[in-house]
Symmetry: C2
Subunit: 346 residues, 2 copies
Amino acid sequence: MPPGRSRRANMVRSEFDLIRRLQAQAAQPDPHVFKGIGDDTAIIKTSSTEWTLITTDLLAEGVHFDPATSSFRDIGYRAAIANLSDIAAMGGTPRFMLVSIAIPPTCSTTEIQELYRGMMQAGSPYDVRLIGGDTSASQQGLFLNITLTGVVKPRQALLRSGAREGDRLYVTGTLGDSRAGLDLLKSRQRPKLRPADARFLLARHHRPSARIAEGQWLVKHGLAGAAIDLSDGLTGDLRHICEESAVGAEIIADALPLSPACRAYAAARRLDARQIALQGGEDYELLFTVPRSKHVRFERLAGKTRFHFTCIGSITSKRLGLRLRAGTNTTQPLPVTSYEHFLKPA
Amino acid sequence: MPPGRSRRANMVRSEFDLIRRLQAQAAQPDPHVFKGIGDDTAIIKTSSTEWTLITTDLLAEGVHFDPATSSFRDIGYRAAIANLSDIAAMGGTPRFMLVSIAIPPTCSTTEIQELYRGMMQAGSPYDVRLIGGDTSASQQGLFLNITLTGVVKPRQALLRSGAREGDRLYVTGTLGDSRAGLDLLKSRQRPKLRPADARFLLARHHRPSARIAEGQWLVKHGLAGAAIDLSDGLTGDLRHICEESAVGAEIIADALPLSPACRAYAAARRLDARQIALQGGEDYELLFTVPRSKHVRFERLAGKTRFHFTCIGSITSKRLGLRLRAGTNTTQPLPVTSYEHFLKPA
């Protein structure tokens, strides 16, 4: 069962439709909820000094992971990172994890232990505690649901809705590595790559990073307008910011941060690395905006950190939609399509 | 796909083993956690005036529900009740729900909408708000994970570990109805029953109650020593109380509260209704203990409520284990086995 990327992409569309419809149904205001459905996490006003973040992710075998190409420890690790990354996108501090798991007859106890080890390993730098969960049988396929809580100071969380025209658009790290790593795993004929490059891409796929420290730093200095984590791919996730903030955006193709390994992979496969960066999912990097008035301070302060930030474009007016600047003076609309449909030789 | 009860029973055993092992692994103390794994919900010390309860349940098609015998609205309703019941067992007030769902290609959007309607309907008496979730594709089978939060005043939650020798053992409502209802759904040759009895049992299966008000009342008056909700069946869940409290227990078979419909069903099938009450799962009634010093006050106050409580036995010393008093002076050990293995004609 190869990970069904295009199937997932189709699913993603109806998922958004469905979630929106249900959101409308359930959208009664509540004095204890600062943010419900529609951001990386919900925000509950639990006390006057600390608000609670809560997020949940359900991963299905054959859709989000494949035991044929990933170890159970890696599957657990990535599942935890997917949730930690949601907390990172809010600028929060992760706290508690609840893990539900539906186990098919084919899974051994050792494999399930490995899965938990991977999850705990991903959470351990942040002292994340496992405080609950549920275990069930599954007739077919392994299903893993993680619920993660976190905390943030009242009114300081980074929202998707905070982008304004004129903001600069930044990302952390490099983009497309995880996708290139997944392609390497899936491809029957592996492209010629230096072993170090292949190892790097596989590690970026199996062991992505959650940008917790970067999110907290943005909150601490009050530098970001909006933020989201890159799980579906840059164009898809940027669209969420644009929709929630009622703005447009322009990405500069040549500004996209690419690792040497991703460039080498694209070259070997005769692909455009920038397209992998635009469409590839599961980078778990942060995408955020910096308001015009804070550009200078951001650059000055960022220069003093160990963080890797890249300006990849800017926020425009809503009527311009989502656009890609490819050459010096040419921009084109940036469609949100699945990776496969979009991938063309460079 | 009939609900795999005996398979689930087998799963339950290894589930407990697994959870215990993982509990040991993850059991670092945390100043913010009052109770982690091992009770109906975890308890987080979120503020000085209110603690947060959090629970999660994963339901799998063919294991916990069967679209062939339940409507999607009923499936959603029961799934929400399973979680509400965990909050009830702590004496808490439910607050926020996060719903993850993995949807197989066979499911329509209308069916998923119905599922959500059922969940919202179960939560609406308590103003439970849907604040988040995740939607995914499933290659086979519908999977539904609900995370529910609630609140309770600091140190007031009812724990499994609070039972002491000499306590009386009580349950709410009647036992075995849900199991009899499920048997009715599954049986090819339906036993002869009055239509009203069949309707009652099916309703108790499809639309169980969460005993939120009863749990809150027990907390308000400080009457209960320990509590748990009945999801796996009376003997299985009582065993949890005994293990967490390091005590034994004796159940009086003739004291078990049985509905006329359940008695009629048992008579028609030539079964012992008391066995259905002992072994049948998913009642979602509360099982709780009342300390010796509070018996009198409990009975006096309970008499003034609309609640239905029945004393079904008492807490004994650990070395006596779990026993059933069947006649006047005979007790026998009460094994925890799956329903099917235990069911004998009366």
